[in-house]
C-alpha cells in the first residue's frame, strides 16, 4: 500500500516539474550573408523614400525614414543620407519657411469649436539663424563633404526620368530645387556631374530600393502657389518608357532591386481635410441653411475635392456665398479644387503607371512592394498591433502635417512592408521593426519626454 502511495506521490511530483517549453530562438538576428545584402544599401526615388515629411526634408525625419529604418534592421554600415538642418527644405522654402509644426491641436483662440481646429505653422528660417538654406543647408560639413555618394539619393519633387537624367535643377524635367542639394553637383573629381542613378552606380550597391512616380501625378493634382506646374503630367506611355529605362539601368548594377508602386494619392488627407461646404468658424462644424442643409462653397461642385491650401483662401473670403459677412464675392480658385474630370485623370494615370510598373518589373524579375494596396488599407482604416490608423488628418496617425507624406509612424509601417517584400523575394529573413518600441523612441528623441 505504501509503495502505491509513494508511486502516486512521485508521479505527481514528476508532473509538477512541467514548465513552458520556450522557443530556442527568441528573436531574429542577421546572418553574415544577410548583412552582406544590406552592406551597400542605396535608395532612389522621390518624396517619401527621401524622408520628406510635413512639407520639408530635414534630418529629424530623414533619420526616421523607412529607408533609414531598413538600414537599421539590415545593419548597413556607415549609412549616410543628405541630412538637412532644421527647419529643413521643402515646398515652403521659397517663401522662407521650412517644416510644418503642429502648434495647437485645437486653436485656443476658438475655444468653442465642436471639432478641434488645429493650428499648423511653418517654421520660418529667420528663427534659425544657424540654418543656411541657400549655401550650406546640411547639418554638418561632414555630411556635406561625405566622400561617397549618399546611401539615400532620393530627391523630393522629381519625376521618374529625373532619376537617371537630371544632374541639376535646371537640367531636369521637374525643376526640383532639392536636386542641387542632394546630388551636390558638380561633384569633386572623379565624379563630375552625375545623376542620382549614376552616383548610385558608382557606389556599387548591393541592394537598391526605388520608389518613384508618385510626384509625376501629384505635381499635377496638388496646388503650388510659388512654383506652379504648368506642364501636363507624365503620360502613361512616357512613364512606361522612362520607368523601363530606369529599371534596365538599375538591373545593370547587378544589385538586388526592389521597387514600390504608386499609392492612390486621392485617398490622402490633403484632398479630404477641407470640406466643400461653408464651415462655422466658431464651432468648426458645417453651417446649415433654414432647411437644415449644408451650404456648398462657391466654385465647388458636388464630387469635387477641395485641397488643403483652400483653407487660406476661404479665410480671405473666397468661396463664401455673398450673404456671408466675410465673403469677398469670389469663388474658390479652381487651382485649389480638383474636379471630377481632374480626379479621373489622376486615377487613370495612377492605374496606368502601376500597370506599367507591374509589367516592367515582372519582365525583369524585380519584386514590387505593393504600396498602392497598403495605402488603400490605411485609407479604409486599419489597426496594426493596437495602432489605429486612418487617413484622418493629424489624428489618423499615418500622415504627416502636409497631408500627403507619411508621419514617423507611417514610415515605420512602410519599412515593415518593404522588409516583408524583401524577405519574401530574396534569400533573407530580416527581422521586421518592433513598431511600439520604435515609436517609443520617437517620443524621447523629440525631447517631449525626459528619460528617467
Amino acid at each position: 500500500m505504501k509503495i502505491k502511495i509513494l508511486i502516486i506521490v512521485g508521479l505527481s511530483l514528476l508532473l509538477a516539474s512541467c514548465s513552458l517549453l520556450e522557443p530556442k530562438v527568441k528573436q531574429s538576428t542577421l546572418s553574415a550573408n544577410e548583412k552582406l545584402l544590406f552592406s551597400r544599401l542605396m535608395a532612389l526615388g522621390d518624396n517619401i523614400i527621401a524622408g520628406y515629411q510635413s512639407a520639408a526634408l530635414t534630418e529629424k525625419h530623414q533619420k526616421r525614414s523607412f529607408v533609414a529604418l531598413i538600414a537599421q534592421q539590415g545593419e548597413t554600415p556607415d549609412f549616410m543620407q543628405p541630412y538637412i538642418g532644421y527647419p529643413g527644405l521643402g515646398s515652403e522654402s521659397y517663401a522662407g519657411y521650412g517644416i510644418l509644426r503642429l502648434k495647437y491641436l485645437d486653436d485656443p483662440e476658438t475655444p468653442n469649436t465642436v471639432n478641434p481646429d488645429p493650428v499648423i505653422v511653418a517654421e520660418p528660417f529667420a528663427d534659425y539663424p544657424d540654418f543656411d538654406p541657400a549655401g550650406q543647408p546640411f547639418v554638418s560639413d561632414e555630411v556635406m563633404f561625405w566622400p561617397l555618394p549618399y546611401n539615400n539619393l532620393a530627391v523630393p519633387g522629381i519625376y521618374v526620368d529625373d532619376v537617371y537624367k537630371a544632374t541639376t535643377r535646371l537640367r531636369s524635367r521637374s525643376k526640383s530645387g532639392l536636386l542641387d542639394v542632394i546630388l551636390r553637383n558638380p561633384l569633386p573629381d572623379p565624379y563630375g556631374y552625375k545623376t542620382a542613378f549614376a552616383q548610385a552606380k558608382l557606389f556599387q550597391p548591393s541592394l537598391i530600393l526605388c520608389w518613384v512616380g508618385m510626384y509625376d501625378v501629384l505635381a499635377y493634382a496638388q496646388y503650388n502657389a510659388i512654383n506652379p506646374v504648368t506642364e501636363p503630367p507624365t503620360t502613361k506611355k512616357d512613364f512606361a518608357t522612362y520607368f523601363a529605362a530606369l529599371m534596365d539601368s538599375l538591373k545593370s548594377t547587378q544589385a538586388a532591386v526592389l521597387v514600390g508602386n504608386i499609392p492612390d494619392i486621392l485617398d490622402m488627407p490633403y484632398f479630404h481635410t477641407v470640406p466643400g461646404v461653408v464651415i462655422d468658424t466658431v464651432t468648426n462644424t458645417p453651417v446649415k441653411d433654414e432647411s437644415g442643409n449644408t451650404i456648398p462653397l462657391v466654385g465647388v461642385e458636388e464630387g469635387d475635392l477641395v485641397l488643403t491650401p483652400a483653407r487660406v483662401f476661404i479665410r480671405q473670403g473666397y468661396g463664401l456665398p455673398a450673404n456671408f459677412p466675410k465673403s469677398n464675392g469670389q469663388p474658390l480658385p479652381e487651382d485649389v479644387v480638383l474636379d471630377k474630370n481632374e480626379q479621373a485623370v489622376v486615377l487613370d494615370l495612377i492605374e496606368g503607371y502601376n500597370t506599367a510598373i507591374d509589367s516592367i518589373c515582372e519582365a525583369r524579375k524585380i519584386p514590387v512592394v505593393d504600396m498602392y494596396s497598403f495605402f488603400k488599407e490605411i485609407s479604409q482604416g486599419t489597426e496594426i498591433a493596437g495602432f489605429k490608423l486612418s487617413a484622418d488628418f493629424i489624428t489618423g496617425g499615418f500622415y504627416s502635417l502636409d497631408g500627403v507624406h507619411p508621419s514617423d509612424l507611417g514610415h515605420v509601417l512602410i519599412a515593415n512592408e518593404w522588409l516583408r517584400t524583401i524577405n519574401d523575394n530574396l534569400p533573407v529573413s530580416v527581422p521586421l521593426i518592433n513598431v511600439p518600441e520604435q515609436v517609443s523612441q520617437i517620443a524621447y528623441s523629440d525631447s517631449l519626454l525626459v528619460k528617467p
Binding site: L20, D106, A385, D408, R420
Partner: protein, 418 residues
C-alpha cells in the same frame, strides 16, 4: 485583518483554465477526475458540479479547499514585426478557494450553499519598465468572480434527484493597456476598474439505473453583468511642452466613469458514470459553454476619450465544449486514487484571439488521492494543463503569431460530516 484574510480566501486572484475564461476546478476530488463528476457528484462540492448530488448527503456536511495554480503563457510574434520575437507573460500564481455546506433538512430534501469562482481571467504582459510589443492591446487583465449559490435538492425517487439553485455572482474587473496619442506620438496608459453583481440559476438532475449506471445533467444560466459605475483612468507622462500637456488633458480625462456590459455564458452538460465494481467507477461528461453570448466588449465613457464616448471591440466567441473522463478507485476504506483526462475546445475564434485571453484547445491530465477517516476527508489533486500551440493569422488587430501556454494546479480539499 480577519476580513482581509477572508477576502483573500474567498476572492481568489483569478486565472483562465477552461474554455474562454470559465473555471471548472472547484474541488480537489472533482479536479483529480478532470471534472467528470456530473453523474456521481455526491459530496458538498456537488453544489457546483451537479446540485442534485447533495440529496445523497446526510446531516450537516462541509467541504472547503483551495487550489494553487501556476500559469505560464508566451507569445511569439507578431508576424508583421518579428515572427520569432518571443515574449513571456508574467507567470501567474493564484490561490482560488471554495466553500460548500449542506444540510439534509428532510430525508428527501437537502439544502446547500456554495461559494466559489466560476469565471476568472488574469494575464499580465510586459511592465512599465519593459513595455511589450502588444502594449496597445492588453497589459494587465483581471476578471474575478465570486458566486454565492444556495441550492435545494429533492429526491422524489430512490434513484432520482433533482435540484435548483440561484446564484448571486459578484464580479470585479480590471482592464489595463497603453493608449497612443498620435498627434504627438506619445504613449499613455489606461485602466478601467469596475465591479458589479448579477443573478443566475442552476439546475441539476441525477438518475441511477440498475444500481450501476448513473446519469447526470446540469444547466447553469447565463449571468448578465452591467458594470455601470466603473472608473476609467488615463495617465500620460508629463511632457516638456505645457501645450502638449493641455492637449493630452483635453483628449484623455485623467479620470472618468466607464460603463460596460458583459454576459457570462450559460453552460449545460450531461454525464454518464458506470460502477465496474463496488470500488471502481468511470465517468464521461460532455459540457458546453455557450460563449456565443459574448459577441463584443463595449465600453461607454461619461466624458469623451480621444474624441469618442464609446469603444467597441468585437469578440464573437463561439460555443465550446469539453469532453471529460474520470476514474475513481477505492483502494480500501481509507484511500482512494483518481485520474482523469479532459479535452477542452477553444471558445475564441482564430481572428479574435488577442493577448488578454491567449486561449486555445487544451489537453488536461489529472491525478489525485483521497483519504477518509471517520467523518473526515482529505482530497489532493494535481492537474496538468497543456494548451495546444495556437498559431493565429488574420486577427482583427493584425497581431498574428503563436500563443503557447500551460498550467500546473495543485488542489487540496477538506471535508467533514457532522
Amino acid at each position: 485583518m480577519l476580513k482581509k484574510v477572508i477576502l483573500m480566501l474567498l476572492l481568489p486572484a483569478s486565472f483562465l483554465l477552461a474554455s474562454g475564461f470559465s473555471i471548472y476546478e472547484q474541488n480537489a476530488r472533482a479536479m483529480s477526475m478532470a471534472g467528470a463528476i456530473m453523474a456521481r457528484a455526491n459530496d458538498p462540492s456537488a453544489i457546483f458540479y451537479n446540485p442534485a448530488g447533495i440529496s445523497q448527503l446526510n446531516g450537516w456536511q462541509i467541504n472547503m479547499g483551495s487550489t494553487m495554480i501556476h500559469t505560464e503563457f508566451g507569445f511569439t510574434g507578431p508576424a508583421n514585426m518579428d515572427a520569432r520575437y518571443f515574449t513571456q507573460a508574467e507567470d501567474g500564481n493564484f490561490f482560488p478557494s471554495n466553500f460548500y455546506l449542506t444540510y439534509a433538512l428532510l430525508p428527501k430534501l437537502t439544502l446547500g450553499l456554495g461559494i466559489y469562482s466560476p469565471f476568472g481571467l488574469a494575464t499580465n504582459w510586459g511592465s512599465q519598465e519593459q513595455p511589450w510589443v502588444g502594449r496597445l492591446l492588453a497589459t494587465k487583465t483581471e476578471l474575478t468572480t465570486l458566486a454565492i449559490n444556495p441550492v435545494v435538492a429533492y429526491r422524489p425517487l430512490k434513484n432520482l434527484s433533482v435540484a435548483f439553485g440561484v446564484s448571486l455572482l459578484n464580479a470585479w474587473v480590471t482592464l489595463e493597456k497603453d493608449v497612443f496619442f498620435a498627434p504627438r506620438t506619445l504613449y499613455g496608459s489606461s485602466k478601467l476598474k469596475a465591479n458589479t453583481s448579477g443573478f443566475g440559476f442552476n439546475l441539476g438532475v441525477q438518475y441511477t439505473l440498475f444500481d450501476r449506471l448513473h446519469l447526470g445533467a446540469i444547466y447553469r444560466s447565463s449571468t448578465s453583468l452591467n458594470f455601470k459605475d466603473g472608473q476609467a483612468y488615463f495617465t500620460f507622462p508629463t511632457t516638456t511642452d505645457p501645450i502638449v500637456n493641455q492637449e493630452i488633458a483635453a483628449f484623455f480625462p485623467k479620470k472618468t466613469k466607464g460603463q460596460a456590459e458583459l454576459t457570462l455564458p450559460a453552460s449545460y452538460g450531461i454525464g454518464l458514470a458506470y460502477d465496474f465494481t463496488e470500488n471502481l467507477s468511470l465517468e464521461a461528461d460532455y459540457l458546453v459553454f455557450a460563449w456565443s453570448s459574448y459577441d463584443q466588449l463595449k465600453i461607454t465613457f461619461q466624458e469623451p476619450v480621444a474624441g469618442q464616448t464609446e469603444t467597441v471591440t468585437p469578440r464573437n466567441y463561439q460555443d465550446s465544449y469539453s469532453l471529460r473522463f474520470g476514474l475513481e478507485y477505492r483502494m480500501n476504506e481509507h484511500f482512494t486514487v483518481r485520474a482523469g483526462y479532459l479535452w477542452d475546445q477553444h471558445a475564441v475564434p482564430e481572428e479574435y484571439v488577442e493577448p488578454s485571453l491567449p486561449e486555445g484547445d487544451r489537453h488536461n491530465y489529472t491525478i489525485g488521492l483521497g483519504y477518509r477517516y471517520k467523518q473526515f476527508t482529505v482530497d489532493a489533486a494535481y492537474h496538468l494543463l497543456l494548451q495546444d500551440d495556437r498559431e493565429v493569422t488574420n486577427t482583427i488587430h493584425q497581431f498574428d503569431g503563436k500563443y503557447i501556454g500551460m498550467a500546473n494546479l495543485y488542489a487540496l480539499s477538506f471535508g467533514y460530516a457532522f
